[in-house]
């Protein structure tokens, strides 16, 4: 995104939004009295709030800004990243949701590495999960803080005033707001700001879709304009037209199955006050996620159609698709709402990662070494500030590197955690050794392939290129499932004798 003239409606929306989330942080601070409150909101959250929090944590600013830009560049093939939301909410609840919530009702479970520790009885496996969480968190968080800085810089026009100090100042401002409410109110603040942020995201996306529909003359008119244009052509609306099948299907696989390893989503199940609340969560999560995706589809169709009609000039930078459309074709108040919605999407993801990252440092790593931190609430708050500071500095100093790390964080979580959690909670035969090997494989293969295929910082490292179109994340996710299933198959065909009795009980339900 580039700097644009300051728009008073957008500035006002952003100021109101930032003031509201700060107020939620102040309110939630008084309700955060223990580590349980801080890390899992006291396990007192109802299903609607949990569903919205899950949805808004899952969607970062990418859905609002990156998605439409990607669709402008590669057409409907980009939708393979987001259309799994049609079934992933039910998929998540069936495969892991119930068992995670029931286990958290029987034992002190605040994090995914806690689950790994109880399921496998292995500090090594749990420690490895904590390392995966920390690596992914730094990547995700750094990318969110960087995006937050760029967006705040654009909304408030700080570059004209602060020059080269504009981006760090904007990053500090955005980071300070998230850190304030995440530190003061922990997950209580996290889920209630997520609820507000989620409602804002859905409302903004639906309203923008309506304007896309209107400005383009309807779905068929937009589609026919795109198909008939020289700039885009028929392949733009061919699901396998612009990307290799392996890439498009790889996206579908990673963003559907890989969801089972995303700690910021799994974490939400621990907070539910009553396991029966799971009943209608898939419906709420699925509908709200689908509503948000309307902005990806709407702007992704409208902008190429408007370019084909000559009503917009062709974009040099596809990431300008959403901002250009919003500023040119929607009322200022709606544009303001969407920019606040993007801030919301970024912050809701960031606050989740601050919380799980601090839990990984304060609870999971010490437990992997057989130790406990005495005052987890205090040190959890300190860790939130520390992680945010580290991720912000890392994001600012290594701007290219953080973008790279951010892009493969989802794949890292997926490959490292999905098989051990999803298969391990549903099949008693999976051993600690198989889970540990699967996590190590997922992490090493994913980080290795992604880093070696994309890095340009260290000339002396070899470059690895996969067969055209094959995604490193899909390879690493398949590899970690294969390792887990193969090693389990090699193990004796009976349940593990040392399986924790609570885990055994929950797997029976």
């Amino acid at each position: 995104m580039t700097a644009s003239p300051v728009n008073p409606s957008i500035v006002a929306s952003a100021v109101v939004y930032l003031a509201l989330v700060t107020a939620v942080g102040i309110w939630a601070a008084g309700r955060t009295k223990s580590a349980k409150d801080f890390f899992i909101a006291g396990q007192k959250i109802g299903w609607v709030v949990t569903a919205f929090a899950t949805m808004s944590a899952a969607f970062s600013g990418f859905v609002f800004m990156g998605g439409p830009g990607l669709m402008y560049r590669v057409g409907v093939a980009s939708l393979f990243i987001c259309i799994p939301v049609g079934f992933t909410s039910g998929f998540l609840c069936w495969v892991v949701g119930k068992r995670l919530r029931l286990l958290a009702g029987l034992r002190e479970i605040y994090t995914v590495p806690d689950v790994i520790l109880i399921r496998y009885g292995s500090r090594r496996a749990s420690g490895l999960a904590a390392v995966a969480v920390i690596i992914g968190t730094i990547g995700y968080l750094g990318a969110q803080i960087q995006a937050l800085g760029i967006l705040i810089e654009m909304v408030f026009g700080t570059r004209a005033v602060l020059g080269q100090w504009s981006l760090p100042a904007a990053m500090i401002l955005g980071c300070a707001v998230v850190v304030f409410y995440a530190t003061a109110g922990g997950m209580v603040a996290g889920v209630y700001t997520d609820l507000f942020q989620g409602i804002l995201m859905v409302a903004a996306a639906v309203a923008v879709f309506f304007y896309c529909f209107q400005s383009g003359g309807g779905l068929e008119a937009m589609s026919r304009s795109i198909v008939g244009s020289e700039a885009f052509g028929p392949s733009h609306l061919d699901p396998f037209g612009t990307l290799p099948v392996m890439t498009a299907m790889g996206f579908f696989f990673v963003f559907a199955v890989g969801l089972l390893g995303q700690p910021h989503m799994l974490h939400k199940f621990f907070m539910l006050s009553d396991p029966r609340d799971l009943k209608w969560m898939p419906l709420v999560i699925g509908l709200t996620q689908s509503a948000c995706i309307l902005i990806w589809l709407g702007i992704g169709l409208a902008v190429p159609a408007l370019v084909a009609h000559g009503r917009m000039i062709a974009l040099v930078n596809p990431d300008q698709a959403a901002p250009q459309f919003l500023l040119s074709f929607t009322p200022p108040i709606l544009a303001g709402m969407v920019f606040a919605g993007v801030l919301a999407a970024i912050m809701s993801t960031a606050d989740s990662f601050l919380n799980i990252g601090s839990a990984a440092i304060v609870r999971d790593l010490p437990k992997a070494f057989g130790r406990r931190v005495p005052n987890e609430l205090l040190w959890g708050r300190v860790a939130v500030v520390g992680i945010a500071g580290f991720a912000a500095v890392f994001a600012f100093v290594y701007q290219d590197l953080i973008a790279l790390v951010g892009t493969f964080a989802f794949g890292t979580f997926a490959a490292a955690l999905a098989p051990a959690v999803a298969i391990g909670l549903n099949w008693r035969r999976v051993t600690a050794a198989a889970a540990t090997a699967s996590m190590a494989t997922g992490m090493v293969v994913n980080l290795g392939l992604e880093f070696l295929s994309k890095q340009t910082f260290l000339d002396w490292l070899p470059s690895v290129s996969l067969k055209a179109g094959v995604l490193p994340a899909a390879v690493s996710l398949s590899a970690s499932f294969t390792v887990l299933l193969f090693l389990t198959w090699l193990s004796p065909s009976r349940p593990q004798p040392d399986l924790d009795s609570d885990v055994d009980f929950v797997m029976d339900l």
Partner: protein
């Protein structure tokens, strides 16, 4: 899937599509089966598998035929299958199947009673 990614051509692509589309339903079946039975979920799971497989294969077979193929719901048929079939089709099927079978399969009264009894024995943590 891992093997498919080392090959090229339609057969490898078809195998990859079939496996990717079958994987979610297979994982759900592993999670929800009680004594090897899927109970009331067999029908929605079969429908989900069928929808995902049929849509995936249809999109693959319709590749490159945007101009010749008919249109549906504002899109060329391949894109319509992707949007209405892969995205919106499973949305209500899965969410409603989960909600409507929840009390008699996913978490029955009997399960909840056993869970509450165990939780109380463990010291009354959580729900």
């Amino acid at each position: 899937m891992l093997v498919c990614s080392w090959f090229s051509g339609l057969v490898a692509e078809l195998c990859f599509v079939l496996l990717v589309m079958a994987f979610p339903a297979a994982l759900i079946a592993l999670a929800v089966a009680r004594n090897g039975k899927l109970g009331p979920l067999w029908l929605p799971l079969a429908a989900l598998t069928l929808i995902l497989e049929a849509c995936g294969v249809a999109i693959l077979m319709l590749r490159g035929q945007i101009l010749e193929a008919p249109w549906f719901g504002g899109f060329p048929v391949a894109a319509a299958i992707q949007i209405y079939g892969l995205w919106l089709g499973p949305l209500l099927l899965v969410a409603l199947a989960y909600g409507l079978t929840f009390d008699r399969w996913e978490l029955r009264e009997e399960d909840l009673r056993r869970f509450n009894a165990r939780r109380d024995r463990n010291g009354g943590r959580g729900q």
